[in-house]
Structure formats: structure tokens, C-alpha cells
Amino acid sequence: MSAAVEYAGLALVAAVTAFPFVWLLATSLRGSGAVFSFPPVIVPRPPTLANYAGVWETMPIGRFFLNTVYLTGMGITLTVATSALAGYPLARMRFPGRDAIFYAIVGSLMLPQHVGLILNFVTMMRLHLIDTFAAVYLPSAASVFGIFLLRQAYLVIPLEIEDAARIDGAGELRLWGQIMLPLVAPALATLAIVEFSAYWNSFLWPLIVLKSPEKYPLAVGLLNLSGLFAHNTRYVAAGAVMMTLPMIVVFLALQRYFLRGITIGAVK
């Protein structure tokens, strides 16, 4: 009895969280008719890609898409690189100030980041970076979560592996690049995927530092689109699906890494 109630509850919650996406997809595939028809249309008859073509022709969706791909790619590359570098000495070297540096990095999570937002805008203005892509990805290029994650990954590598490499005469840089880095590949993958969703969906900061529409990522472009086509919900729905689909595909394919990303973050 109680098991049945639980399954019903689980299914109901799944319906509430997933159904809006089904409705969005159906709306984007509808040829005509009122958007708010009842009962809601789940299977459009006949389905059509006309809204996608229409949005593609009237709005620089392709441009937004490329911008998003570029910003996400740069952001992930920089975050993964800075974390892979910084985590290494924190885990495997002895040097003055190591613990202080580590606590300062982790402690910065307690800082009121929103106060920094204002000054980051001023910094970008001083550097003449307003309305450039660099202004979008630079402030988040070093990730506390990433450094922490990589430090943990380096920590569990057995000392024997390091000793063997040293006896073979490997220098510090070769030891890191050829021995250590391949061993923390799973952590790098987890970080890359967590950062993928952060950069792909990032919205507030690009909105602040980007001025020209041809530089907008999808999130900011889509918001403009919804204002311009307030009367044509099917177009906006098509744009929303184009933005969401890559994210959902990546999530479903790499779910395990996503969930590991959160639970590692939670242990922190």
C-alpha cells in the first residue's frame, strides 16, 4: 500500500518536472492554431519544422549559437586548465604558505560574490573589455570548486607512482603532464561537464557586459527574441528548444558525471 503511494508520488513529481518540456517541444512543432488550446496538444498533427526555419531566418540564432559554443569552450578550457595546475601543488608539494593559500581559496566561497559584481564591471570598463567575449569568461575562469575537486583527485594518487617517475629522472613538469594529469582525467571530465552547464546557461553576467546583439549568447539572445516575438509563441518555443536540446543531450549522455559533480561539491 505505502509502496504504491510512493510510486504514485514519484511519478507525479516526474510529470510535474518533465511535462513542461514536452509541452514546449510540442508547441515548437505545431503549424498553426492557438497556442493555448485545451486540452493541451502533446502530439502536433502534422508536426512541422516551419517554426525552426522561421526563427532561423528572422533572428541570428546561428550567430547566438556560435557565440555560446565559443564562450562555453573558452570558459571550460580555462577553468579546467587553471584547476588542473593549481590543484597539483596544493595536493602533492610542500611549500611555505600552502595551507594558508588553500584555506583562502576555499574560504572565498563565503565571500559575498554579489558585492564583487559591481567592481568586476568597473574592472572590465578600465580594461576596455566591455562588449568583448573575454569580459564574459575571464571572471569565472578560476573555479574554487574546480581547484578543490582536482586537489582531491591528486591527493589519492599513490606515492609509489610519483617515486617511480622520479627515479626514471622525470622533472616536475613532466611528472605532472605525463604521469599525474592522465590519472586525474575522471575529475577533469566531471569538472568540464559541471562547467559546461554553468557556461552554456550563464545569463546575468553576459547581460551586464555585452552590449551588441551580435555578441549575445543564446540565453541573452533568447530573452530578446521573446520580447520581439511576444505574439508568436511558436517561434520563441522553437528558439527555446534549440537552446535547451544540446544541454539535455549532454546531460542524459553524461548524467553520472553531473551527479558526481554535485555530490563531491556537497561533501565540501
Partner: protein
């Protein structure tokens, strides 16, 4: 001379060895210093200045804070942000319940977890637009509630000043549920089953087990999740920006929204920093209280 060269070449690796760890750290520390430590520190100081980007900053003492005290919009924004905290207990309660169910009955059902997590990975812009349609006078929410005879007429979810804030809060709950569920699920999986067995042997019923055993053991997860959730509730902005623009008539205007408007709309950067500092103070105060309240528990509890 030759000896000097030998000494230098011997010293070079020593210096390199000393410098190596710092060189590894340099890119990350440089970026954190420039875009986290520096702006937070200077932003706090900026709250004591008048600054509009064009003219140099002018020291104003506590003038910004005094102005806030008699600023009607500041109090509206503060009240809305604090009201928004009501989302925390509801969201965490739902997430814990969901995690308990998933843990017990649906461990193998990966697609269910995926369904709960879908809103988490979706852009807030898409989520906001979607819910604006769902909340429409002729939208799905009204249709369903009318069909179920829970309503007499359509509710203006986002345009009724008495309801809009709660309607936006529901979207925060909907989007965050999967995320917090995963945190609690990880917490539940870390509890050895021996605790439940021991409680059952001692004759504890399911309800007693939940209240006396599971929840106390889950406390570290609850502490983490409630703190994260309270901080983001106080700082809520994106949902509001996309769905209501702060309206109707400031009904959903929040602290972060006011800071955003003052900083990037009106270019009152010092005033915006003062709003940010007050928001930070409220956040820190709440986090400390939360920490004191929930500190004990976990496996160390026994």
C-alpha cells in the same frame, strides 16, 4: 669565475624548485585575486563612497546607508527578499521526502532521477519563458486547476501583486528540487543500514525511525542544503528578471534586483554597493544562525 658559474647552475634548480609550486598556482590565484578578492573587498569599501564611473569616487561616510534607511524601495526589496526565504523550508522538505522515496523505492529508476533533474540543467531564461506561458490567464495551470474545480475563475498568477511573488517562488522550487534531492540522496546513501536495523529491533515504527534516526543522521546534508538554498533565496534575481521584471508594482522587486538597477541602470555604484553590503550582512547573519541551529548531528551524533 668557473666556480661561480658552477655555484649558479647549482642554485638555479634550487630556485626553480622553490618557485615551482607558486608558478602552478599563479594563473588561478591571479584570476581569483583580480575577480573575487579584490572586487569583494573594494566593493565593500565602495559602499562608503559616491561613485558614478564618470567622476572620481567621493567619500560619503555612512550617507549611502542613511539614504537606504529612508528609501521606500529599499524596504520593499528587503521585505520581498526576506519573504522569499519561505521557499527554503518547503523546497527542502519536498527534496528530503523525494530523496527518501527514491532511496527506498526507485534506486534503479534512473530515468526518474533524470526527469527530476531536467529543470536544474535548463537555462533560467527558458524556464522563465515556459512558466510565463504556463501561468498565462489562459495557460495550463489555470486550465488544470479549473478542470479539477479548485478555482472558480482564472488566477492572474504573475500580474496580481498579492500572488506574483509566490508564483515566482514556486518556479524556484520547481527548478531546484532535483538539485537538492541529489544532495540528500548522497547523504542517505552514506548512512549505514545498521542504524535502521538497530532501530527496528528496538521497536521503532517508521515515523519514529524517520524522526529519531534518519533525519538526525542527515543533518550535515540538511545544514549544507538549507544554507545554500537560503543564500540563493535572499539573492534571487534571474527568475524575477525573466518572469515579472520586478512587477507588478514592485511586488516581486528584490534586494539583488534593486542593486542591479542602481549599479547598471542608474550608475549609482556606491549606493548599489551599500545595498550589496546590507544583503551580505543579512546573508551572513542567517547562515550563522542556521549553522548554530543545525550544527550537531550526523554520524558523530551517536
Amino acid at each position: 669565475m668557473e666556480r661561480q658559474a658552477v655555484a649558479r647552475s647549482r642554485r638555479a634548480p634550487a630556485i626553480r624548485r622553490i618557485l615551482t609550486p607558486y608558478l602552478f598556482l599563479l594563473p588561478a590565484l591571479g584570476l581569483l585575486a583580480a575577480f573575487t578578492f579584490y572586487p569583494v573587498a573594494l566593493g565593500t569599501v565602495l559602499s562608503l563612497f559616491e561613485y558614478n564611473v564618470i567622476a572620481p569616487p567621493r567619500f560619503a561616510g555612512l550617507a549611502n546607508f542613511r539614504a537606504l534607511w529612508s528609501d521606500r524601495y529599499f524596504w520593499i526589496a528587503l521585505e520581498n527578499s526576506v519573504t522569499y526565504l519561505a521557499v527554503v523550508p518547503v523546497l527542502q522538505g519536498c527534496a528530503i521526502l523525494l530523496a527518501l522515496w527514491v532511496h527506498r523505492s526507485a534506486r534503479g529508476l534512473g530515468w526518474l532521477r533524470a526527469a527530476y533533474y531536467l529543470p536544474v540543467v535548463t537555462s533560467i531564461v527558458v524556464v522563465g519563458m515556459l512558466w510565463r506561458w504556463l501561468y498565462d490567464d489562459a495557460g495550463l495551470v489555470n486550465y488544470l486547476l479549473l478542470q479539477l474545480r479548485l478555482l472558480h475563475g482564472p488566477v492572474h498568477w504573475l500580474s496580481d501583486p498579492g500572488i506574483a511573488l509566490y508564483a515566482v517562488m514556486f518556479v524556484t522550487l520547481w527548478k531546484g528540487l532535483g538539485y537538492y534531492m541529489v544532495i540528500y540522496l548522497a547523504g542517505l546513501e552514506a548512512i549505514p543500514p545498521t542504524f535502521a536495523e538497530a532501530a527496528a529491533i528496538d521497536g521503532a515504527g517508521p515515523a519514529q525511525q524517520l524522526w529519531r534516526v534518519t533525519l538526525p543522521l542527515l543533518r550535515p546534508s540538511i545544514l549544507l542544503a538549507t544554507t545554500l538554498s537560503a543564500i540563493s533565496a535572499l539573492r534571487v534575481f534571474e527568475e524575477v528578471y525573466v518572469m515579472t521584471g520586478g512587477g507588478p508594482i514592485y511586488a516581486t522587486y528584490t534586494m539583488f534586483y534593486y542593486m542591479f538597477d542602481q549599479a547598471f541602470g542608474a550608475l549609482h555604484l556606491g549606493y548599489a554597493a551599500a545595498i550589496g553590503v546590507v544583503l551580505a550582512a543579512v546573508t551572513i547573519g542567517l547562515s550563522v544562525a542556521n549553522f548554530k541551529l543545525l550544527r550537531e548531528g550526523g554520524l558523530a551524533y551517536y
